[in-house]
Symmetry: C2
Subunit: 273 residues, 2 copies
């Protein structure tokens, strides 16, 4: 079901006034009328039942009632949906050309990734380091918009967070700090060290983070691969074709999610509203 992502400024009060685009989304796009309800989530993922109590030409006022995470909410736009558990997925995406990152992060948010970050590596065609601060800021703003739209449209209960700076590949291991399983995809002949997804995930607890690092169009250099392996990142080879950067992330997140929620955690599906 669709939901409204509450503004960062919302502190949990009983009423919330929305203006501009936010207000239009509710009254023009979702065509919500006075008295109708919609699910809300704050940036921490907390769940609210929102009731539209007033509409003016440029704004609207909602009453906000926090509800339990697993409480069923009857709204006007209710399709039953899976409410978890979700694996804790972290996608580190090397910089891509053009606006491909927007599509990747949008799809990753829909799937329910918890954390997204951009990474700069040797063969990245795009280099943001010599770009003006304003251009980099605009790039992050566009990504934030995609993530928010995807959260609202998919009704994801996972409050996807975007890391607010580009990580240098050299800093990735210290940023990651061994929080869980970390993998990267690399097509190489060094088959001794390569693992399959299945072998790495078989004994992985669903709540423990999985970090997926996707290389740029040009792949990783040999030195980068060695560095990553020495830092505890597992090189994984997929039994598929060589995928483009914008397909690899979605492929990996989808497969990992199914393996962790279904194959190795085979409880019946519980849908709620």
């Amino acid at each position: 079901m669709r939901q409204l992502v509450l503004p960062r400024s919302y502190q949990g009060g009983p009423h919330l006034e929305l203006e501009g685009k936010e207000s239009q989304y509710l009254t023009k796009v979702l065509r919500l009328k006075r008295g109708q309800q919609i699910l809300g989530r704050d940036t921490e993922g907390r769940k609210y039942l929102l009731t539209l109590i007033e509409i003016t030409s440029h704004s609207c006022i909602l009453s906000c009632q926090q509800v339990e995470q697993n409480m069923q909410v009857q709204t006007t736009d209710a399709l039953p949906s899976y409410q978890g558990p979700y694996p804790n997925l972290v996608l580190l995406q090397c910089l891509c050309k053009g606006r491909k990152e927007e599509q990747i992060f949008r799809q990753a948010t829909e799937i329910g990734a918890a954390t997204l970050a951009l990474v700069s590596s040797r063969y990245c065609v795009t280099d943001l380091s010599d770009k003006k601060e304003k251009a980099v800021h605009a790039r992050f703003e566009r990504l934030e918009i995609q993530i928010k739209e995807a959260l609202q449209q998919s009704g994801s209960p996972v409050p996807t967070q975007l890391v607010s700076q580009v990580l240098d590949l050299q800093d990735v291991p210290s940023w990651w700090a061994d929080r869980g399983l970390a993998i990267f995809f690399h097509q190489s002949t060094r088959s001794e060290s390569q693992k399959t997804l299945t072998s790495l995930l078989e004994a992985h607890p669903i709540e423990k983070p999985v970090c997926v690092l996707i290389g740029p169009e040009g792949g990783f250099s040999d030195e980068e691969c060695t560095f990553l392996e020495q830092s505890g990142f597992y090189p994984v080879v997929l039994k598929t074709n060589i995928l483009r950067s914008e397909t690899a992330g979605v492929y990996a997140l989808s497969a990992i999610q199914v393996l962790l929620t279904e194959t190795y955690n085979n409880k019946p599906v519980h849908l709620s509203q």
Copy 2:
């Protein structure tokens, strides 16, 4: 590794002359020089070693030598890649708005889907039935271009085929003719009949086709769901958010490929060139 998809007109002779865009792809995009080699595949998926023997301003001539499917070919653009087995994946995608189908079919081709088709169903926003033949033809031509580019770029050994007409949902079961497992995704409360991907694929032989039917933006109607179920299509609920049409297909194909090639067919990965 990248490869050249041979024109449909190629009948297996020792030489092939390419003109226009085809020639440019080799000489300008891949920057192949005289004497250099590239892998070729015909529309049936047969493998050829191609050597560039002449370049003129508007064309080039290749010598063609058919090779065994599993023979390693040393070319100038050689990254080791997985050579199979590939599951026999069939993606039936309900018509989408705009050019989303192009992205979906491109990604499905990269992943190695064998057959792709467009389907028309009740809640499709796009209706091609009242469009001029020319417009429909142009739509299919654009899809063919995407598929060909994806085959060339990904080096997929699976010769992805596009069904050359839009299937009406009512005709899908007779078209499919019980060739294997058929599933569709539907978020409903009729939980008794719903299966998980894992339970359906656990005992599925990798060579037997799997048909994945993805609904349009508006989903399937109740009547359509009943019709599909009665026709032997299994409704599957994914343990994830409600995905947009353009994410659902890639999600499903990725997960099914990993389940069939890794989880239930756990042999070591063999890479060849």
